[in-house]
Amino acid sequence: MDSVGKAMPKLTINGKVHDLDVAEDTPLLWALRDGAGLTGAKYGCGIGQCGACTVLVDGEAVRSCVVLAVDAAGKDIVTIEGLGEKGRLHALQQAWIDHDVPQCGYCQTGMIMAAAALLRRTPRPSDADIDAAMTNICRCGTYQQVRAAIHAAAKA
């Protein structure tokens, strides 16, 4: 059998170390979803275009469908499931609820993770900062609410 690479290095996801049995060419997205059972990061395109799969790797927004899981080994991976702390919602998640942002919701976890990376870098983003950072696709068209919620979370 091929595709049986060397043993997969351990992944640190949401502060927990995971030993995942996946082939070494496995994108991080599928290691998270099928390996670790964390389905908050979504598949939308598989080619880095839509951002539905966005997670944080060492604090940066990463489209996990185009990053190999092995390359994230030893780094700090945060998914939507681990964004809030100690059972509390992250300010962005709360703002998303307050502004009733999601429609179908499928893009929203990736949207929130992209926003989390933005706020980490730029705590009080301007509209232009938001325009530049938020390049995820939302087919339902929630962009106005996304912008409002990011501003609200920045003030929270």
Partner: protein, 718 residues
């Protein structure tokens, strides 16, 4: 108060189940005989379950795909139930139980902007019936007459004695009472839940990752399958060599699904994808292998002048009116095939045991999914079940159940093993139910006063319903019904020549209003300019007598400041349509780079009159969302064909608007109320964004763009 006679047939259907002791002959799958929810809580009516802790569970038959119908329907039930909104949750009614109980929840179909408006009468009655049963139970408990009781937020009070009882306390007794034959509905003025901009019920799990979509389903022992269908519709699968695919670690099997498709079954998406890429497949591309976009366009263009057209709307003598006109203009427009591209690609999970078949899936029609499961499994529908999941977008694509059929056909070959069958984005793009391609040839004549003396519109393109007299092609152009034309033109001829390609067409958000609104509202704009008149004034002058149409147009224009000069460098365009029973209008404001190639949308003001509104905040979101969907298509999208197959395989070639391109959308929600029929919300407004933008582009540049997408002309949205 309005008293409504509950429809006799529905009473027999629902009431027979509920009225005679609730239990006779009823079996909820997985539950005890009798009207109880799975957790044992009493079902007061089929729509309302009340738990001892006062939680009110509202059963929902339609599907939630982002449009907010789940919350809206719950608001309607809760309003006439008089319960505490903060205790309301919603759950899907089971399609199998619906079948077993004589369709007690009615239609599960969620399309045509019908989800809410078609459900209104019976969901309100369901809430009111439950209320009346709860009050009767409380009256019996307190030994008083029900008319002596009042209720607010699920707390029943007997004012003379000050005694109170909660819904949770009397639900058990209420559930044993007969369903009343007559119920009293609350008049609109007393609504406190319906009509309010309440928050959606389905938001919290969508921001934590806890929401389980079809793609996220996990069952014990489950395997994951990826589908590959013949790239050319009409072709077939001849054979495949699975040796290399099976060598990939984690791959279980490669199975033929049917004549045209196969699936790789593995322990997860990635091994399945790796194996799919290594599979050696021999296809017979069939009779459509030579079709391309140019040949399709030629066939449509031929249809523009063909004799085999069917009349849609006519008056007077269009040919005579045109030849006698003081001034005459003509134009040809085109609109391409489009994929729905919901964020979540098609998928379904199926478990077949030989005796039963269960499916977990996102679908716009739970009953149709159940039928698909039954027919693919070969089992009677009574032995099947569909577990509905929230959709990661639908837009019409999930009205077709092809992916459910596939999942069951694979599961049938692996009895006892749950199979999650997924489509890659590439499969989803190739296997669409495409928005029909259409062309239009328009000729208009003005009289000496600059009024429209004659108009002829020839449509040529793909019929979704697949027949030459397809009435749906005349959306927004029809003489009667929910999609009326609306202008007073003495000599009119609107007809249609069907020209179908091998692609499978489907209902794409807005359906045929997308192109018809562009054809008509841009050409009206052309006529206004030919007449030397202001586009708004020209429309107001030419409208028929429908005051609601005039009202939305005037409201949007007033809010947008039509008639006052826009900021330097900015230009405005206007459009209106009446479709899905709603009146909508929009004014777009944009600026264009000097070379005409870069468009910045600043603002769109929309006005919508859907007759009645259940949740104005959700209406606003549907309006701005519909603009993103429609304008993404206008600027960026087309499904083109080469060698019989779709060229665009993913979001790199089928792009979608991003946040930075989003204009400020301001929505005026102005329901006529009263006796106005209920109109739709999710789709109507999509029609006005594109023509308003195109008309504004003309105002900015003096140039008419008549072919969609605008990327073909090198025009980009920035």
């Amino acid at each position: 108060m309005a008293t409504v006679q509950i429809d006799r047939r529905r009473l027999l259907v629902g009431g027979a189940a509920l009225g005679t002791g609730l239990a006779v002959g009823i079996r909820l799958p997985g539950a005890r005989p009798g009207a109880r929810a799975e957790d044992g809580s009493p079902e007061v009516t089929a729509w309302v379950v009340i738990r001892p802790d006062e939680t009110v569970v509202v059963r929902i038959a339609r599907s939630e795909m982002g449009q907010g119908t789940l919350t809206g329907l719950a608001q309607l039930v809760a309003e006439d139930l008089d319960c505490d909104w903060s205790r309301v949750t919603a759950e899907y009614a089971s399609p199998a139980a619906n079948l077993a109980r004589g369709r007690v929840w009615g239609d599960f179909g969620t399309g045509g902007s019908q989800g809410l408006r078609a459900s209104v009468p019976y969901v309100r009655e369901a809430g009111a019936a439950a209320r009346s049963m709860l009050m009767a139970a409380a009256a019996a408990r307190l030994g008083v007459d029900a008319s002596a009781l009042t209720v607010a937020k699920g707390v029943i009070t007997h004012p003379p004695s000050g005694r109170t009882l909660t819904y949770g306390a009397v639900a058990e007794a209420a559930a044993k009472l007969p369903v009343p034959r007559r119920v009293t509905l609350k008049p609109r003025e007393r609504w406190t839940i319906a009509g309010q901009p309440l928050k959606r019920l389905d938001t919290p799990p969508k921001v934590t990752g806890a929401q389980v979509y079809g793609f996220d389903v996990r069952l014990p022992g489950m395997v994951t399958g990826l589908v590959q269908d013949c790239p050319v519709t009409g072709g077939r699968l001849v054979r495949f060599d699975a040796a290399k695919a099976l060598a990939v670690k984690g791959v279980r099997q490669v199975v033929r699904i049917d004549d045209t498709s196969l699936a790789v079954v593995a322990d997860g998406f990635w091994p399945a994808k790796t194996a799919l890429d290594r599979l050696e497949i021999t296809w017979d591309y069939g009779p459509n292998a030579a079709v391309d976009s140019a040949s399709i366009a030629r066939s449509l263009t031929e249809g523009l002048a063909a004799a085999d057209a069917n009349d849609g709307n006519s008056a007077g003598d269009a040919a005579g009116g045109l030849s006698g006109a003081a001034k005459r203009i003509e134009a040809t427009y085109s609109y391409p095939y489009l994929n729905h591209a919901p964020m979540e690609p098609m998928n379904a999970t199926a478990l077949f045991t030989g005796e039963r078949c269960e499916v977990w899936c996102p679908t716009q029609n739970g009953e149709a999914a159940l039928e698909a499961a039954a027919s693919a499994s070969g089992l009677p529908a009574a032995k099947c079940e569909v577990h509905k999941l929230h959709l990661g977008g639908g837009f019409g694509r999930r009205l077709a159940q092809d992916y459910v059929t596939q999942a069951v056909l694979v599961a049938k070959q692996m009895p006892g093993t749950p199979v999650k069958l997924l489509w890659t984005r590439e499969e989803d793009m190739a296997r669409g139910r495409y928005h029909p391609a259409m062309q239009a040839r328009l000729e208009g004549g003005l009289d000496a006063n600059g009024r429209i003396a004659a108009l002829s519109v020839r449509l040529a393109g793909h019929s979704i319903l697949g027949f030459a007299k397809d009435p749906l092609v005349f959306q927004g152009l029809a003489a009667r019904g929910e999609h009326r034309f609306g202008y007073a033109v003495p000599n009119l001829k609107i007809d249609y020549a069907m020209r179908n390609s091998h692609l499978k067409p489907g209902f794409w958000r807005g359906v045929n209003i997308n192109q018809n609104a562009i054809f008509l509202e841009c050409f009206i704009d052309e006529l206004a300019h030919a007449a030397g008149k202001d586009p708004l004034a020209f429309r107001l002058e030419m409208l028929d007598g429908d005051v609601r149409r005039r009202a939305v147009l005037e409201a949007a224009a007033a809010r947008a400041g039509w008639g006052t000069p826009p900021a330097a460098g900015r230009h405005r365009g206007i459009a209106q349509v009446m479709t899905f029973g709603s009146y909508v209008a929009a004014v777009a404001e944009l600026s264009v780079s000097d070379d005409g190639r870069r468009v910045k949308l600043h603002r769109i003001v929309a006005a919508t009159d859907p007759g009645h509104v259940v949740n104005p905040a959700q209406v606003e979101r549907q309006v701005s969302g519909s603009f993103v969907y429609g304008l993404s298509a206008l600027f960026l999208q087309a499904c083109t064909v080469e060698k019989g197959r779709i060229v665009e395989t993913n979001f790199d070639s089928f792009d979608s608007m991003r946040l930075a391109q989003m204009p400020e959308v301001e929505t005026i929600v102005m329901p006529a109320g009263g006796n106005a029929p209920w109109g739709g919300v999710g789709e109507p407004t999509i029609g006005v964004a594109a023509p308003a933008v195109l008309n504004a582009y003309f105002a900015a540049t003096g140039k008419r763009l008549r072919d969609v997408p605008l990327s073909k002309a090198g025009v980009r949205l920035v």
